[in-house]
């Protein structure tokens, strides 16, 4: 699918904003977790709603994964999904200063906490560069240890099509790999375009 609801200029600007935003996010995440974070270059594309589940599988690969969703609100509106395709609960618990005994609720809370940090840092960074005011709702668990094909069902998606920004995270010295996917519905993209235009003008 072509990027028909975002111009080439806007797309370039978004890529740049995302790149800078991720750089800043990486630094602040490292500061919170106390570990060096590996971040991929953000990939941006537009997808049909029906393609979103398959896109998630393509990113996370076949296998078992957990996913957390979190909404962002304000000038920019959408939802972020963090897919944990490979992680050691023990390693993450250490990073987030959880005690040794990690029961089932605590291990879920841990994923929410990590997601909140990643989503907050990345989207916060982008929003700050775009000088857009955004807030976050509490994250919630979308799927807990299911096949990646079941992370999200097409019929559970309200939007018709969406702008998808994907970033891969990893930790150098830990067993940890996850994907952050930012999804903005078609009707919310207009606000993003205005923010991007403003950003381009101010360059």
């Amino acid at each position: 699918m072509t990027m028909d609801f975002i111009s080439d200029d806007q797309r370039e600007a978004l890529q740049e904003v995302a790149n800078i935003g991720m750089g800043q996010a990486g630094a602040s995440i490292a500061q919170v977790l106390g570990e060096f974070v590996e971040l991929s270059v953000p990939q941006i594309r537009a997808v049909d709603a029906a393609e979103i589940p398959a896109a998630l599988v393509a990113l996370a690969g076949d296998g078992i994964a957990s996913a957390v969703r979190q909404a962002f609100l304000g000038e920019l509106r959408g939802e972020a999904i963090v897919i944990f395709s490979e992680h050691s609960a023990h390693d993450l618990a250490e990073l987030m200063s959880y005690g040794d005994a990690l029961d089932a609720p605590a291990s879920r809370e841990l994923l929410l906490d990590i997601s909140n940090v990643l989503v907050g840092a990345c989207l916060g960074g982008i929003a700050e560069l775009l000088r857009a005011e955004i807030g976050f709702s509490a994250p919630s668990l979308l799927a807990d240890q299911v096949s990646t094909h079941q992370l999200l069902q097409a019929e559970a998606i309200a939007a018709r099509c969406a702008l998808l920004v994907e970033v891969r995270f990893g930790l150098e010295r830990r067993v940890f790999r996850c994907h952050l996917i930012i999804l903005m519905a078609e009707d919310a993209v207009a606000a993003l375009q205005r923010a991007l235009d403003r950003f381009i003008e101010e360059l």
């Binding site: 602040s28 500061q31 919170v32 987030m96 200063s97 959880y98 005690g99 609720p105 605590a106 879920r108 809370e109 929410l112 906490d113 909140n116 940090v117 907050g120 840092a121 916060g124 807030g135 976050f136 509490a138 994250p139 919630s140």
Partner: protein
């Protein structure tokens, strides 16, 4: 009102709002020193704002999960974004007694907490504000909902079991109805057949006697042939003997009668089986030793079994069982004969094992063989009257249906475990005592 005065009023309003709002509001700086503690916090924690302000949060609440909370606060300071805790995963941050001391509730207030970054001077984040929402009522409601769903699921499972039982009962009912109607039919047929068989049998006996007499006469005549002088007559007799093949006739006639007798005997046996099947004649209910019954039955059928299989006995201690002993013996006989006939003689001697046992208010008698076994189809039809897998003339197809009815009358059941090529196991379960209502 002047501008500063308006601002002062507005500020006082805000202050009063934060103080009185029905949400826990507190704030700490990066060192964990408390900078704000509203009335909700004071009322629920029992620590006034005067006592809290300027104090270290962790010093005042040593039970807080310090390392985790510090990390959480730090992430808010560093990222400038909110952080959250949810009651479903972490029931509470502060252990506050809930507001249901009388009506039953939960052990402590359930809380959703949001940690907000506060930029007081406009620049750096200097404070993190925690807002605590009381979710106890929601938690109680959700708990009840879970209980209701669990109860529904339990009920659903129980209903599933009941439906299964109902289906089984219906199948049994169909089976026993079929048995009953066939029983009536069989009784009628047995009665109708008995009369003609009776007079055919009686006539046959007379016929046999007459034939013997006639043959005796003919033999005597034959001995007298030498006395005949008329050569023409002799030639006619010789011709007739030739045409009639009199030697063969003399030989065959008694054989035909013997075969007919045999056939009649078989008809009588079938009629007897049919009568047994419909329980035309009942014996007395009594307490009997099934092990002894099994032994005497084995004696009766020993000639059927001894050349085909070795018999092993594995009897347990049995209490005396209330039963119609003669009828149960018939069941055992059927099972033993069937087991012996299931033996594949091409593989040498088979093995038949008789076992008995006792469990609670039930006893069981088991007949196991290592013979040909049964297919699913045979297993399904085994209790059907006139269903037989034996060659024509060898079985009436009534043995197992008779057994089924006898065991059912004893309020027992027959378990079958059989696989083609691996042998069969029949286990008859019988209650030690019969339910009072059905005793004669």
């Amino acid at each position: 009102m002047t501008l500063p005065a308006a601002a002062a009023t507005s500020s006082a309003l805000l202050e009063s709002l934060v103080e009185r709002i029905d949400v826990g509001v507190f704030a700490v700086d990066r060192a964990g020193t408390v900078a704000l503690w509203n009335r909700f916090m004071a009322v629920h924690s029992g620590k006034s704002s005067t006592a809290m302000l300027g104090q270290n949060l962790f010093a005042m609440f040593p039970e807080l999960p310090r390392a985790w909370l510090e990390k959480k606060l730090e992430s808010v300071f560093v990222l400038g974004n909110s952080a959250f805790t949810l009651w479903e995963l972490r029931p509470y941050l502060f252990r506050f007694p809930h507001d249901r001391p009388i009506t039953r509730g939960l052990d402590a207030m359930r809380q959703n907490v949001t940690f907000l970054p506060l930029r007081v001077a406009g620049g750096e984040i200097s404070l993190v504000c925690g807002t605590i929402f009381d979710y106890t009522e929601t938690a109680i409601a959700q708990c009840r909902l879970h209980e209701a769903i669990a109860a529904l699921n339990t009920e659903k499972a129980a209903q599933g079991v009941l439906i299964g039982k109902l289906e089984a009962a219906q199948n049994q009912l169909l089976q026993s109805e079929k048995m009953a109607s066939i029983g009536q039919l069989a009784a009628g047929v047995a009665h109708e057949i008995n009369n003609p068989v009776g007079f055919v049998n009686s006539n046959l006996q007379s016929l046999k006697k007459y034939c013997e007499q006639m043959l005796h006469l003919i033999t005597t005549y034959q001995a007298a042939e030498a006395q005949i002088a008329d050569s023409e007559l002799l030639a006619r007799i010789a011709g007739l003997k030739q045409t009639l093949d009199i030697d063969f006739l003399q030989e065959d006639l008694p054989e035909l009668i013997r075969e007919s007798e045999d056939g009649l005997l078989r008809i009588k046996k079938i009629v007897e089986d049919l009568k047994d099947f419909s329980h035309v004649d009942e014996s007395e209910w009594q307490y009997a030793d099934l092990n002894a019954g099994l032994d005497s039955t084995l004696n009766v059928v020993w000639s059927e079994v001894k050349y085909k299989a070795t018999v092993d006995k594995n009897y347990g201690q049995l209490p005396a069982v209330e039963c119609l002993a003669a009828q149960l013996n018939q069941v055992f006989m059927n099972l033993i004969v069937n087991a012996a006939q299931a033996v594949d003689e091409s593989r040498g001697m088979g093995s038949v094992t008789l076992s008995t046992g006792h469990q609670d208010e039930w006893v069981w008698v088991e007949v196991r063989d290592n013979g040909c076994g049964m297919s699913e189809d045979v297993k399904r039809r085994i209790f059907e009257p006139f269903f037989t897998t034996k060659p024509v003339g060898k079985g009436t197809g009534l043995g197992m249906s008779v057994s089924y009815n006898i065991v059912e009358k004893h309020h027992g059941r027959i378990e079958i475990d059989s696989h083609p090529g691996q042998g069969s196991r029949f286990r008859v379960w019988l209650p030690v005592s019969q339910p009072a209502a059905t005793e004669p």
